[in-house]
Every structure is written in structure tokens, then in C-alpha cells.
């Protein structure tokens, strides 16, 4: 099936490429003339670009109502070499449009929030000129993410995959000269990029295997051949899907490559909200769901996916209990929730995974943005309370131990945060309950071990969110900055309210019994079927979550933490709590296992091999010396004696000859007369005796 021969779809579908073009246009405008524009205008351009993409996504949704099987919109030919035929083509079907709408919708709200947040942030960090750059990168991210979700083939998807990784790096290290020791943010960005790269390696190998076995990189062709071709065995499919899993663990922060996400909190909060909660990290789950055909044909790999997802969910949830940085708790929570989604995809519950992906985007973005609101409020309080000078750098506005009692000072933020937390904990009738419950129900049916792990993780989820709310918003302020904290302007709080509304109502997407999302996605994913509502599972998870919140209140609520008091869990759990706080020393382990040997190898190669062997010995001794010897011989041994010798020899020859001939020139006339006569005699004798 040669794509350029397929007739192009008409109507609203032709607008599909604009979904990528609008953010690109926005970033180009800001890049070229952004310097001369006011902050408001730069932010407006960026927001309008993304909002326009959102409108296009809605139009694609509308267009799909008439043609739910989906279409391909070919934009241009890209690679045409032999049997490899890769065009720039967009696949507009129910799955990709779901992602498009979610990404652009949440992006628009976060862009609006960022307009206000970054205004404060660039001034707090001391460099107002960097405002424009933020929105250029933000728009670039949306463009790359759109390329990823709308791609029709693996190669184009990889372009978007890499693009979002790049934007993540750029935005994490946005304040590149700040952070621990003046380089911490840059190191965090580097860590994210390199860890992602390891995952990308997996994606690439999977892509190569796919091309080698299926002779095509286009999704529909590959899936068709996999199901009906019968030439590719289960072993190869397992290998392909396992390598894809490596890519997923990198991009969606699962075990073993999740270490970059907590460090990524070094970036500004809108970045954490958009990229590391709602969109980029969901790319891995999108990959699995898109390749559902391949994963259902490789059951071993699916099991591995499920186990990894469930394990990650549980481990990350326990780590979140021991964290004190408000964003770190949310980061580990994200890892945990991504584990839920990956486990759902692993057991075959693709719709549940997508459902949770969308609702999680709503309430996790809400939580991150509210956390950012809290941080900015505390920073304002720091500024207002006059705690300047040395305190400025030692005081960490993210640390929950410096907060407390913010319920009174930041009412709106508290309310939306509460909504987000309850949604995350899975309390009905908020969105998180429905999506998480669908995952639990499907896991209960298909893979009991996964269900148990996920259920325990859900308990921890409720616990740490309760802990966080109680530490941040209840009790007495534990620092002067918290005392003077104040609420943020509407440009920041209105998107929060919007997201809170979505977090409350998001459950309608796939209510049990109605299951609109399942029907919608069934047009693209073939093997999905509506899951039945399991009352036992739902009741159990709700009761467990409420118990966990009650326990959290018992520890942190009844006697709220005072200033300087250590976490009560430290006393009760002791070393376990330390392990949770130290994230089980995973980074230190990786450092010992991988990074230190690598640096040792690199310095060995550089110092010993490159400098001492190659430079010092080979270059200096072998090459330089022999060259010098050669030139010495050429100059002294050849040029001097031979060539100079020839020239000088000629001269001395002439000199010698002339010295000898000069003897004839005596100056005596009589000698000359004699030579006349001698000559005359010779001639005469010659004539006479001829």
C-alpha cells in the first residue's frame, strides 16, 4: 500500500497538519521578533498558538464522528529508498485524536497559567529577559508532542519522541546557571536527556526489528502483517515489544529508568505540570496502546510490562511517603500513576490505561500547578516578610516543612489542591476513582498479582496525599515566609479552577455502563471490550483509601507539625522511613554501578590511550622523531653534500681550470711569439706529413 497513491481525505481532515503548524508558527514568531515584544504579547502569541491547535483537535474530533475508522493525511514524502517508504503523514483516528485533545487542552490551560507564573519566576530568579525563551521552548514542546501523537509511522513518531525529550532537557535546565552548586539544574537536564536516550535506544532497536521483519514502518501495515501475515514468530514479536518497553521505561519513568523524573522538578513548575505529568511521560503509554496488536500477540512481553508497571507503582508510592519537597512528592506520585497505566496496558486493559492517562493529566496538572501556586505564594511571603540576604539562598520555598497553615492564606489554591488530591486518591465521584477503578477491576480479572500490587500502591497514594495536604495547608505556619504568603492573581488561579472542574467531571468519559471512551477507542484498537463494573473492587479501594486518609490525619492532622519537628514517621518506622526518604538509594546505586565505571573508562581512554599513548608516544616519539630524522637527513645528508656539492663543485672545477690555464698568460711577448712559432711548426708538419 503506497501511501502517496491513497486518495487524500477531504473536509475537516485536511486541517490536521495545522495542529503541528500552529505551535511552530508561534515559536517562530516569538523567536524572531519576541525580543521586541512585551511580555504580555509573547505569552498571548504562545497561548493563542496552542489554543488554535486545541480547536483543530476539536475539529478533528467532529470530523471523526462521520468517519470513525480514522484516516491518513499525507503531508509530504520524506524517505523513499528502495522498499523503505516513509512519508510525513498524520494518522487521525480515535486514539490519536484523544491524545491530541487532551494534550492541547491541558497545554492551553498550562500556557495561561505559565504567563502569570513565569512573570513572577523570572523576577524571583533575577533574569526577566528569559521570559520569551520559555514560551519558545513550550511551543516547541507542543509541536513535537503533536508530531508524536499524530504520526502515521514509527520513524515520524520517533522524531516527535526525540523532540519532546529535547524540550524536556531544555526546559528542565531552563535556569541553567542555578541549582545546586550553580550547575544543579543543568545536571538534572542532562540526566533526563541521557536516561531518555537509553530508552530511545530501545525504541530504535524495536524499530529496526520491525522494519527488518515487516519491511514497513507504517502502523497499519505492520499491524496487519503481524496479525494476518503469520511470517513473524512470537519470539521476534516478544523481542520487538520488550525493546519498546525499554523505550517506555525511559520516557514514562518506569523501573529502571525513572531516576530522571524527580530531578526534573528542577525546572519551573509549568514544565513539571505539562511535560512531566500530563503529556511527555504519557508518550510511553501511548506507544504501548498504539502497538496493542503487537503486545497482544506477545503475551510474555505483556506480562513483563504489567509486572514492571505494578512494581514501579508500588515502589514509587512508598518513596513519595518519605519526601519533603512538595514537587518531589508529586513527581513520585506521577511515576506511581504511570506505573498504574503501564500495568493496565500490560494486562490488556488499553482503554483503562488511556482513561487513566486522560484523567491523570487533569488532576496531576492541577496538583502541579497548585503546588506552583503554593511555591509562588510562599516566595511572595518570603519577599514580603523581609527575610532577605543570606536567608534567601538557604530557604527552600519548596520544602513542606517550611509551610503550614496556608489554608487561610491561599483559599482558592487550597480548594483546588484538595480536589486534585481526592481525585488522585480515587475518592468517588471524582475522575480518578473511575479510571483507577477500571484499572483495578481489569487487573483483578486478568492478573491477580498485579492487582494486589496496584491496590497496595493505591493505599499509599491516598496516604501520602493526605500527608501532603495536612503538612502544607493545615496547622500553624512554620516559617515567616508561610506566615506572609498570599494568594495568586486570577491568571494563575482560573486555569486551576478549570482543571479542577475537569478533575471532578472527567469520570464521565468512561462511566461504567455507558463506557463512551471504550466505544470511541474500539474503532482503532480492535481487541478492546468494555469491562464490567466490579462492585467489590470499587468498594474495597474506596474504603482502603478512606482508611489511609484517616491514618494520615491521625499522624499529621491531630497534632500538626510544629516548626523544626521531625516527621513522626521517622520515629515509628525508623530505617524504613530513611530508606523511603533516600529513595532507596537508587541514584547512588546507579552511580556506583554505571556512572563511576563509565567515567573511569572515559578518563582511562582519554588520559592513557589518547594522551599518553597516542599523543605522547605515537605522535611525539614515533611520528615526530622519524619526520625530524628524515628532514635532517634530507637537509644535511642530501641537500648539503649532493646538491650544494654539485653547485660548488662546478665552481671549483672552473676555478681549478682557470688557475691552471692562467699559467699560459705570462705577459711576456716573447712567450706569445714562441707559441706562434710552435703552432706554425705543428701546422706545417701536419701538412707535410699528411
Amino acid at each position: 500500500m503506497n501511501l502517496s497513491e491513497v486518495t487524500q481525505p477531504g473536509g475537516l481532515f485536511t486541517l490536521a497538519p495545522l495542529i503541528i503548524a500552529f505551535p511552530v508558527a508561534g515559536l517562530l514568531i516569538n523567536m524572531i521578533i519576541g525580543r521586541r515584544l512585551s511580555e504580555r504579547l509573547v505569552g498571548a502569541i504562545a497561548c493563542i498558538a496552542v489554543a488554535a491547535s486545541f480547536i483543530i483537535a476539536i475539529l478533528q474530533f467532529v470530523a471523526l464522528q462521520a468517519e470513525p475508522e480514522g484516516v491518513q493525511v499525507v503531508v509530504a514524502d520524506w524517505i523513499m529508498i528502495g522498499s523503505l517508504h516513509v512519508p510525513w503523514a498524520l494518522k487521525v483516528d480515535t486514539l490519536s485524536v484523544t491524545m491530541m485533545m487532551m494534550v492541547t487542552g491541558v497545554s492551553t490551560l498550562i500556557h495561561l497559567y505559565a504567563v502569570g507564573y513565569m512573570h513572577d519566576d523570572v523576577r524571583f530568579q533575577g533574569d526577566p529577559g528569559r521570559y520569551t525563551r520559555f514560551f519558545i521552548f513550550f511551543n516547541l514542546f507542543v509541536a513535537a508532542m503533536m508530531v508524536l501523537v499524530s504520526a502515521d509511522n514509527y520513524l515520524m513518531m520517533f522524531v516527535g519522541w526525540e523532540g519532546v525529550g529535547l524540550c524536556s532537557y531544555l526546559l528542565i535546565g531552563f535556569w541553567y546557571e542555578k541549582g545546586k552548586d550553580g550547575i544543579g539544574n543543568a545536571i538534572a537536564g542532562k540526566k533526563a536527556f541521557i536516561t531518555n536516550r537509553i530508552g530511545d535506544f530501545g525504541f530504535l532497536i524495536a524499530m529496526f526489528l520491525i522494519f527488518w521483519n515487516f519491511k514497513s514502518l507504517q502502523f497499519d501495515e505492520v499491524f496487519h502483517l503481524a496479525e494476518h501475515g503469520g511470517t513473524v514468530g512470537v519470539g521476534v514479536l516478544t523481542a520487538i515489544t520488550l525493546f519498546m518497553l525499554l523505550g517506555v521505561t525511559g520516557k514514562s519513568a518506569q523501573i529502571p529508568l525513572f531516576v530522571w523524573l524527580p530531578d526534573a522538578m528542577a525546572g519551573p513548575t509549568p514544565v513539571s505540570a505539562l511535560i512531566h505529568a500530563a503529556t511527555m511521560v504519557t508518550a510511553g503509554i501511548y506507544l504501548i496502546v498504539r502497538n496493542s496488536v503487537l503486545f497482544t500477540l506477545a503475551p510474555v512481553a505483556s506480562d513483563v510490562v504489567a509486572i514492571i508497571g505494578a512494581t514501579t507503582a508500588l515502589v514509587a508510592a512508598t518513596i513519595a511517603v518519605g519526601q519533603f519537597d512538595i514537587k518531589r512528592v508529586l513527581a513520585y506520585s506521577t511515576i506511581s500513576q504511570l506505573g498504574f497505566m503501564v500495568a493496565a496496558a500490560g494486562v490488556g486493559a488499553y482503554v483503562a490505561a488511556m482513561f487513566h492517562l486522560v484523567t491523570h493529566a487533569f488532576f496531576k496538572a492541577l496538583l502541579f500547578l497548585s503546588a506552583g501556586s503554593v511555591i509562588v505564594g510562599v516566595e511572595h511571603g518570603l519577599h514580603d516578610s523581609g527575610d532577605h540576604g543570606g536567608d534567601h539562598h538557604d530557604f527552600d520555598p519548596n520544602d513542606m516543612r517550611n509551610m503550614g497553615g496556608l489554608r487561610a492564606k491561599m483559599k482558592t489554591t487550597f480548594l483546588v489542591y484538595l480536589v486534585g488530591s481526592l481525585a488522585l486518591a480515587g475518592i468517588p465521584p471524582l475522575a480518578g476513582f473511575f479510571s483507577k477503578d477500571e484499572i483495578l477491576a481489569d487487573a483483578n480479572q486478568k492478573f491477580l498479582l498485579v492487582y494486589i500490587l496496584l491496590a497496595i500502591a493505591a493505599v499509599f497514594t491516598a496516604f501520602y496525599m493526605g500527608r501532603q495536604i495536612l503538612m502544607v495547608f493545615f496547622g500553624e505556619p512554620r516559617s515567616k515566609a508561610a506566615e506572609h504568603a498570599r494568594e495568586n492573581p486570577p491568571i494563575m488561579t482560573y486555569p486551576l479552577i478549570g482543571l479542577a472542574f475537569l478533575a471532578v467531571t472527567g469520570g464521565v468519559l468512561n462511566l461504567p455502563g455507558v463506557h463512551s471512551l471504550t466505544d470511541w477507542l474500539e474503532h482503532t484498537l480492535e481487541h478492546v471490550h468494555a469491562s464490567e463494573f466490579n462492585l467489590f473492587v470499587a468498594l474495597l479501594s474506596t474504603i482502603l483509601a478512606l482508611i489511609a486518609i484517616w491514618v494520615a490525619w491521625g499522624i499529621y492532622g491531630r497534632r500538626t507539625l510544629t516548626k523544626g519537628q521531625s516527621d513522626p514517621l521517622r520515629k515509628s518506622l525508623g530505617p524504613v522511613f530513611t530508606a523511603m526518604e533516600m529513595k532507596y538509594w537508587v541514584d547512588e546505586f546507579y552511580n556506583w554501578l554505571v556512572i563511576r565505571p563509565y567515567i573511569r573508562l572515559a578518563s582511562f581512554l582519554a588520559d592513557v590511550i589518547d594522551w599518553r599513548f597516542w599523543h605522547d608516544w605515537f605522535h611525539d616519539t614515533v611520528i615526530a622523531r622519524s619526520f625530524r630524522g628524515l628532514t635532517h637527513w634530507l637537509a644535511m645528508g642530501f641537500d648539503l653534500p649532493v646538491i650544494d656539492g654539485a653547485a660548488n663543485g662546478l665552481a671549483s672545477l672552473v676555478k681549478g681550470a682557470s688557475t691552471r690555464l692562467r699559467i699560459l698568460q705570462t705577459g711576456f711577448v716573447r712567450n706569445y711569439a714562441l707559441s706562434f712559432f710552435v703552432g706554425l711548426l705543428l701546422i706545417l708538419s701536419y701538412i707535410l706529413f699528411r
Binding site: 692562467r662 705577459g667 711576456f668 711569439a673 712559432f677
Partner: protein, 101 residues
């Protein structure tokens, strides 16, 4: 009186050799000139001898030429000697060796 041709030629030869020896060995420039004249006159004698033996007048006409040339040459040569004497105060040809080297 028929002097045989050979005797006259022998005399011419002897005179020539005497003149050549004089040119080669004498140091006085005027003596060298005299020897040159002697050589020229020996050549004249040889011309006359052959004119007599072949009964041809052309030999005697050649003698006139030779005498005229000899006279001119002597004039030039003596002028040269006078010029040299003015610089060197001597007519010893051994002393005119500034072209040595």
C-alpha cells in the same frame, strides 16, 4: 752566373730562421723589429728566387707589396716603442708584462 735555385732558397731559409731566433731571444724591442725585417726580407728573397726560376714577373711585384707593408709596419711599431718608452723608460720587452695573469 747561374746561382742554383736551391742555394738561394737555402739562404732565404737560413735568413728566416735567424730572424725568428732573433724575435724569440732578443730583449731589445728595436732588435726584435730588425729581426722581423730580416724575416720579411727573407720572404722577399724567396719571391725573387722563384720569379727568376719561373720567369714570371709576378714574384717581383709581390716584393713591392711586401716592402710597402714592412715600411708601414715599422712606422707603427716604432711609434708604439716610443710610446712605451715614454711610460716605462726602457724598451726591454721583458718588462712589458702587465698583461700577466
Amino acid at each position: 752566373m747561374d746561382i742554383p735555385t736551391n742555394y738561394l732558397l737555402a739562404l732565404s731559409g737560413v735568413l728566416f730562421i735567424l730572424g725568428a731566433l732573433g724575435v724569440l731571444t732578443r730583449r731589445n724591442a728595436i732588435v726584435i723589429f730588425m729581426s722581423i725585417e730580416l724575416m720579411l726580407n727573407s720572404a722577399n728573397l724567396a719571391f725573387i728566387t722563384f720569379a727568376r726560376s719561373f720567369e714570371d714577373m709576378i714574384g717581383q711585384i709581390m716584393v713591392f707589396f711586401v716592402i710597402a707593408v714592412a715600411a708601414a709596419e715599422v712606422a707603427v711599431g716604432l711609434a708604439l716603442i716610443v710610446a712605451i718608452f715614454k711610460t716605462k723608460q726602457s724598451i726591454d720587452v721583458d718588462q712589458i708584462s702587465s698583461m700577466k695573469g
